[in-house]
Structure formats: C-alpha cells, structure tokens
C-alpha cells in the first residue's frame, strides 16, 4: 500500500450523501456520549481517577465479551461488568493509594477473562475487535434507546451531585466539617462513572475510553479555571471528537476510534499550546512589572 492509497483509505468521502442518513442513530448516540463524557471527565480529573476509568473499562469489556459469547445484549453485558467493577472499587478502594493497587490487580484479570470469552466465541470476528477498539457504525434503535436512557441517568445524577461532589473533591477537610457524606457520595459517583464507561465503550472501545472521559476535560482545564466554562468546553471538545470522528470514518472501512482519539488529542495539544503561550505572556508581563 503506498501513501496515496493509505490516504484514500483514511479519508474517503465516496457516496457520502447516501450514507449519512443511515447513520443518524450513530450520530445521536455519539453526541449523547460526548455530552456524558465531557461532563463526567471533569470529575474524573478532579478526583484523579484516570487509572480507575481504565480499570473499569477492562472489566466492562469482560462483561461485554461474556454477553457476546452467550448471545445476549452486549450493551447490557458491558453495563453489568462496569457497574460491578466500579462498586467494588468504590467500596474497597476509598483511598487513592489502595484504589490504584486494586485496579492494578483487577485490570489484567478482566482483560484476561475478556480474551478468554472472545476466544470461545464463534461468531463474526469484527464484533470481537469492536469491543476493544470501538464500533458504532450500526447503532439500531433499540441500542440507541438503551444508550439514551443510561446517558440521561448519568447526566441527572451528575447534576444532582454537582456541588457537594465538587466540594469533597477539591476541599475534603472543609467539606467533611460541613457534614457532606463523602463516603456515600464517592460510591454513588463510582456507579455513575461505571455507567459512563460502559456507554463510552460502545463508541471508542475499552482500550480507548480515556479519549472520551479524560482528554476533553483535561484539555478544558488547561485553558480555564472558570467552572462553568470548564464544563462547557469539555462537553464541546468531547462532542466534537465523537461526532467529528464518526463523520470522518463514515465512508471508509476503518473503525471510528482512531478518528475520535486523534481529534481529541489534537484539541488537547491546542489547549496546551494556548495555556503555554498565556503563561509565557503572564510571566513576561510580571518580569516587566518587576523591572519597571
């Protein structure tokens, strides 16, 4: 394959007009997931839980693979896997240190189980691969329904917990003095996170959830510390990545995840660049002020 062939495989827009209407379900699903990922990502960053997201994703993958093997709904399998994993983490690993070692133990176990189930599975191999690296090409109306319901649950729960969860995340001492039930809130957040992870897996796959749940929020936090703006930007970044990724992947034969992860990575780079330039300007202004 020479370069131009690769190029036309990666960016192909043949029959675009005909394909577009067929994937409206996928686009809606993508937009919903962008919304969820952008919102929850803020808390994943605040609570320093990137590794937990990764761990939950692998167990969610095991659940999905099992569902595939026994021929039930894959979304449900993945939901069960990740909610179990996040409950376990929420209850056992309250302290960040414990949590990381528990995740380190659980993650390879989950991944191994998932691989076992996939190896036993006799069906189409595209389905297997999709769980790890993403597929959204054909979201049917039933799946869209499940995704939408779960997304709404996640968003409502997040909005309800927003202030106290922010409080216990940034300022645990004062929050405790204020009587906020930190332990219960943390477990509740883990369950919500589990749901969000399971949903994201449907788009970008278990290996790449971080691109949806971390990167957009991390990028937004780079450029602003205004909380409202942070959430808005994070959601905008996540939606751009997913919907943009789906649109770019449409006509080609490649999975959508490389498009999604690349867009979200580029956004992150741009944000870092903006932050770097701003800090440099601030610094030189300070120097000038000192010199004057």
């Amino acid at each position: 394959m020479d370069l131009s062939e690769i190029w036309s495989t990666v960016f192909s827009f043949e029959d675009y007009a005909e394909i577009l209407p067929l994937v409206s379900n996928s686009l809606i699903a993508g937009a919903l997931l962008g919304l969820v990922g952008g919102m929850i990502g803020i808390f994943v960053m605040l609570r320093d839980m990137a590794f937990a997201v990764h761990g939950i994703a692998e167990l969610s993958f095991a659940g999905a693979a099992f569902a595939l093997l026994i021929g039930t709904n894959v979304v449900v399998g993945s939901l069960v896997g990740s909610v179990l994993a996040s409950l376990l983490l929420g209850i056992m690993g309250a302290a960040a240190k414990d949590r990381n070692s528990i995740i380190g133990v659980l993650m390879p176990f989950g991944l191994g189980l998932g691989i076992l189930f996939l190896a036993l599975y006799q069906g189409r191999s595209a389905n297997k691969f999709g769980l790890l690296t993403g597929q959204i090409v054909a979201v049917d109306t039933v799946q869209l329904g499940v995704l939408a319901v779960c997304s709404v649950i996640v968003m409502v729960a997040l909005v309800a917990m927003w202030r106290p969860l922010t409080f216990i995340s940034v300022d645990p001492a004062v929050a405790a003095a204020r009587g906020i039930p930190a332990a219960r809130l943390s477990v509740a957040f883990m369950v919500v996170l589990g749901l969000a992870v399971a949903l994201s897996i449907q788009v970008v796959g278990a290996l790449l959830v971080l691109a949806l749940l971390i990167t957009p929020a991390a990028a937004a936090i780079r450029v602003t510390s205004n909380p409202v703006l942070t959430v808005s930007l994070s959601v905008a970044f996540a939606m751009t990545s997913v919907v943009g990724g789906i649109l770019l992947a449409l006509a080609g034969s490649l999975p959508i995840s490389p498009y999604v992860t690349t867009i979200s990575f580029l956004i992150y780079l741009v944000c870092r660049l903006i932050a770097w330039r701003r800090d440099r300007v601030r610094h030189s202004e300070k120097m000038a002020a000192v010199a004057a």
Binding site: M161, R163, P164, V174
Partner: protein, 282 residues
C-alpha cells in the same frame, strides 16, 4: 445582628461545653478529664506541641471524632457533623495546581457547597462572595485559579469561607500560618470581630500566641497527655509550662510579647511512636 455582645456574659448558655472529656488512640492519651465551657463572644487559644491533640480537639467539636469518654455539647446539643452553626478554617493544605476553580468559586463552595444540584441564584451569590472577598482582602485575586495562589492567599480564602455563614462557633486551626504580618493582624482581627460583634465563640489553635495576645480571653495548653486552662497570664508562666513539658522552661514578657525559652525538642508521650499528622502543612 449582634444579639449578645458582652463577651463571657455569665448568664449566657455556653456555646461549647465539654464534661470530663477524654480522648485516646490505643494506649496514646491525648487528654483526660477535660472540663471546658466556652461562652458566646469568648476567644480561646489552644496551644501545644505537634501531635498534642489540637486538631483532634477541633474534630471532636465538629462531630468528626468521637470522644473516648465524657461529653461534648455545642449550644446544648451533642456535637454533630455538618452543623450550620460551626465555621472552620482547617489546618493548611494547598490545592492542586490544576484545580478548575477560581478564588471566588472556592468561597462560594463554602457558602452552598453542601447543597444538591447546581447553583441557581448566581447573582445573589456573586454579591455575597464579593463581600466576603473584600472582607479578607482577596478581591484582587478573585478571578485567579486557586491552584496558583500562594499559601497565604489561599489561607485568606479559608477565612472567608469560614465566616460565610455567620457561625456561632468558629474553629480555626493555625489560621495565621504563612500569612505576612499585615495579614496576620487583618485575619485575626476579623476572627475577633466575629466574636465581639456577632457573639461567636472562637477556638483558635496556634503555635504563636503573640499575634493574637490582645484578643485572647483564655488559653488551653495541651502537652504530653496533660493540659492547663486559664487566662494567658495564668497559663503562660514558667512553672506551668515546665510542669506540662516536664522540663525546665522559662517564660518572659517583654514589650507585651510572650517569649518562651527552653522548649524541649520532643515531648515525652505515653506512646513513643508519635508520628506527624498527615494533613500537617509545611
């Protein structure tokens, strides 16, 4: 606003009332047989070496730490966590660099961070936060991210948070740490005003009594599992401190300042495995 302004009015019900309170962790005794009433408007300083139980004492008042024996009551009721009548300035701990909050957002959390949902009355909140920022001299950095603020700037936000709810009881854990002299005076003055204008009882943990000497009504000195309560003049004496520390200590007064000389490096405890408190600032 000010209901009862005369400090330590004899008839007023005490804000804090501890009876025969004791606290131990394993075989490590922090204090025992502590009887303490703090009246509205009273300013109590708590002194003592690292690990003597000052922070733990505040935690019992917040209802976060159970006593091993005895009782503690706040305004006549057993201490419970999350009481709206209690304001706290915690022992210093700095924020993560990348915390996506500005100074004003932190103060706002101190006002309504315990409520469910997202904030709706933004305008009213903004006004209240502006007032509080003004009060602690933080207006100039209201919009800056908390993570990049200096230790003293963060500490002033803590003070604003604690004063936000017009508390009946104000618990301050080394609130002057990393403040420059000017702001030490400003913040301790503010805390004192909460006591004398609003009738709040103040418990003020500190290692350095001089910046607040003019405000202090009584001193609680904790050391080595023992304690002593009294006016500064009664407690800050060579005999009292020598006895508490079990080592010869000299206390001098010069120019209205108290100078303590001969403080031992470590205090002997029931259990020698004393460790630094994990939350303790630099």
């Amino acid at each position: 606003m000010a209901t009862d302004t005369s400090p330590a009015a004899p008839a007023a019900e005490p804000v804090v009332s501890m009876r025969n309170a004791s606290l131990r962790f394993g075989d490590r005794l922090l204090w025992d047989g502590l009887d303490l009433d703090i009246a509205p408007g009273e300013f109590l300083a708590v002194l003592g070496p690292n690990g003597s139980g000052k922070t733990t004492m505040l935690r019992t008042l917040m209802g976060l730490q159970e006593l091993s024996g005895g009782t503690v009551k706040i305004a006549g009721r057993p201490a419970t966590r999350g009481s709206r009548q209690v304001g706290t300035i915690p022992q210093q701990r700095s924020f993560d660099d990348n915390t996506p909050l500005r100074a004003r957002d932190l103060v706002a959390l101190g006002i309504d961070g315990h409520k469910w949902g997202i904030r709706l009355k933004r305008k009213a909140m903004r006004r209240r936060v502006d007032e509080l920022l003004e009060l602690v001299g933080a207006t100039s950095y209201a919009e800056r991210p908390v993570g990049v603020l200096s230790g003293g700037e963060q500490q002033r936000l803590r003070a604003a948070q604690a004063l936000a709810d017009d508390p009946r009881l104000l618990l301050c854990d080394e609130p002057l740490l990393s403040l420059d002299l000017h702001h030490q005076q400003a913040i301790s003055g503010l805390i004192h005003r909460q006591a004398c204008d609003h009738g709040a009882a103040v418990v003020f943990v500190t290692h350095e009594i001089n910046p607040i000497l003019q405000y202090v009504d009584r001193v609680l000195y904790l050391a080595g599992g023992r304690f002593h309560i009294g006016t500064p003049g009664e407690v800050m004496r060579s005999e009292v401190l020598s006895e508490l520390y079990g080592a010869p200590i000299e206390v001098f007064e010069s120019n209205g300042r108290i100078v303590v000389v001969g403080m031992p490096e470590t205090v002997t405890h029931a259990n020698p495995q004393q460790r630094a408190h994990p939350l303790q600032g630099a």
